[in-house]
Amino acid sequence: MSTTNGLPISISGITKRYGNLHALDNIDLEIKQGEFLTLLGPSGSGKTTLLMALAGFTRPDHGSIKFGDEEIILKAPHQRGVGMMFQNYALFPHMNVSQNISYPLRLRKVNKTEIAERVNQALETVQLTGFGDRGINQLSGGQRQRVALARAIVFSPRILLMDEPLSALDKNLREKMQIELRHLHEELGMTTVYVTHDQREALTMSDRIVVINNGKLMQCATPRDLYDYPANKFVAEFIGESAFLKVDHQGDGVYFDGQKLVVETLPKKQKDLLLMVRPERLMVMVDGQNTKDMNIFNVTVSEIVYQGETKMIYVILADGVSMSMRLSTRSGQPQNQIDKGDKIKLVLHKSDTTVVVDGGY
């Protein structure tokens, strides 16, 4: 499979209404050449609608979509030349594996020898060499997924769209395929737009993640920025676990329970602020610890839940608000002696102390 140059995608002002419902509400988005971008959101958020608008299956009410410099919003799906993987693969049951993969090439009137060559290459790329004569019904879920991928990339599209392609696979296979898709993307270099509702999948695979809710674009950022600096409470809650503590903005900074928080940055907005506490960022304070750049919380342990690789310590703060802390289950650590009912001190580093704006729903 030859490396193709991805095309940048430029989306501006895309709006789609169904009755009074805004499936897409004035979406602006620049997708870079060769980028792996994930559209993440709960079901009904509009992420699939946006993907379908890119593929040409949904006609937006207004707005513009450009592939490279070319406006494609009025083009029919078959004129757009983008590869697409469907959620249920949509492999044609009346064609075998080779016929499925060669279909886009036959439509493009590629000559027979080249078709055979490229189908073999595609089969090799997805590690299904020798499966060409199989019927679709003879394939396992994982194999179908690979055939669908081969069919989507065999005509070297410069843009690849994927609609939750891994959702039907079991957990182990899904994790394996995530890495494989990622490698394949690096190898082929096409601009890839990936839709999922699985935040871990999004974090694993993407260069950047776009979080969508109620048809609105919430945030577009790298996985790390999204996790560490969510734009609002919705994003913070949707990605990873966290507790939210109400904080007040008072002149020189934000205060929680009368204690001034040490922070690196603060949102511009000064109202409806929440302190986001990720369970794995909390630490138990040990005697003699340097507490410079640390926020300290006095808590009571209410519950300890063992979860294998980690355990969750549920704690209650002085004013009755609860949060949780994730600890390693490794032996020989002082924190292993914590028991239900203990009063302990927890610390949160300045760079992990993120204040977010309530909202985004």
Binding site: A55, F57, H78, F86, F92, Y103, P104, F155
Partner: protein
């Protein structure tokens, strides 16, 4: 007592339970089996036997011999197949686009439209056929309206001939084609068409290369049902054919009512049955029969 001993103790009992359950399930088929044997198998076997009994009461092939000898029988069979084939072809031409249209509608609208397809089913066959007579005859509504509006000057011969028979039969047979076809079209996921257009197929290419092949089992099922039902049709050709369209079923009636010749009638029935099975057999070589009988994928 250990667990394994428990298992051993219960083994026979569990087996008995399973057998009992199977027997009860099987019992559900008894009434149907009884019906089929008394009203279908026995009479057919009896007629089969009669077809080999000559006028002198002994075994004879005279009824079959007569069919070979007489040109009129060949003509009747030819007419029967011609009418059935034409009915099937016209039903496909009208029914396929309609079924396709219905399958693309949103479910609620499609259900309402489906009702209008099914409506004729709830009216008596005889009533429907006579209504066509009223509509199509020389001074019928269609001829009157056509001449009043100046489309044609002389009354068209729309009935008491082959075209009248076909109009009536297509009307009656159409639902039998549409129902299995619609079911099989409905079972084609929309994503297939999206996938093909995404891969570069124009709507026309998508239709012929993806949708049509996948709707073939339903089309075969519907066509076969229409064709086979048409082979044995009686009422419509009798009323709308005006004596010019004689089909096998009508000849059977003639043999019994005019000549009281059960042997000849039975022989006709047997030949028609054998031919029908022959067609089913050939069709089963072309498509898998369980697809056809199951009416879909």
């Amino acid at each position: 007592m250990s667990i394994s001993t428990y298992g051993h103790v219960n083994e026979q009992e569990l087996k008995n339970h399973a057998t009992k359950e199977r027997r009860i399930l099987l019992g559900l088929t008894y009434p149907a089996v009884f019906c089929v044997i008394t009203v279908m198998v026995i009479p057919v076997a009896w007629l089969f036997y009669l077809s080999f009994i000559g006028s002198d009461g002994n075994f004879s092939l005279e009824h079959y011999q007569r069919m070979l000898d007489s040109k009129s029988y060949a003509r009747i069979f030819l007419m029967t197949f011609k009418v059935s084939l034409l009915t099937t072809v016209i039903c496909i031409c009208i029914g396929y686009p309609l079924a396709y249209f219905l399958s693309q509608l949103p479910a609620r609208v499609a259900n309402i439209c489906m009702l209008s397809v099914l409506l004729p089913f709830w009216t008596s066959l005889l009533v429907r056929t006579y209504s066509w007579l009223v509509l199509l005859q020389r001074k019928g509504i269609i001829n009157q309206a056509g001449m009043d509006m100046g489309f044609w000057d002389e009354p068209l011969k729309l009935v008491h001939n082959l075209s009248g028979t076909l109009i009536g039969m297509v009307h009656i047979m159409l639902p039998f084609l549409i129902l299995p076809l619609y079911a099989s079209m409905k079972s084609i996921p929309q994503d297939y068409m999206k996938a093909s257009s995404n891969l570069g197929a124009t709507p026309t290419q998508s239709f012929w290369q993806v949708f049509f092949p996948l709707s073939l089992p339903g089309l075969m099922a519907g066509s076969l049902i229409v064709f086979i039902l048409s082979l044995g049709f009686f009422v419509t050709p009798a009323i709308l054919g005006g004596g010019k369209v004689i089909m096998v079923a009508m000849q059977i009636t003639n043999n019994i009512e005019l000549f009281y010749d059960w042997g000849a009638a039975s022989a006709l029935g047997v030949v028609l049955l054998v031919m029908t099975f022959g067609i089913l057999f050939i069709a089963s070589k072309l498509v898998r029969l369980d697809n056809v009988l199951g009416g879909g994928h």
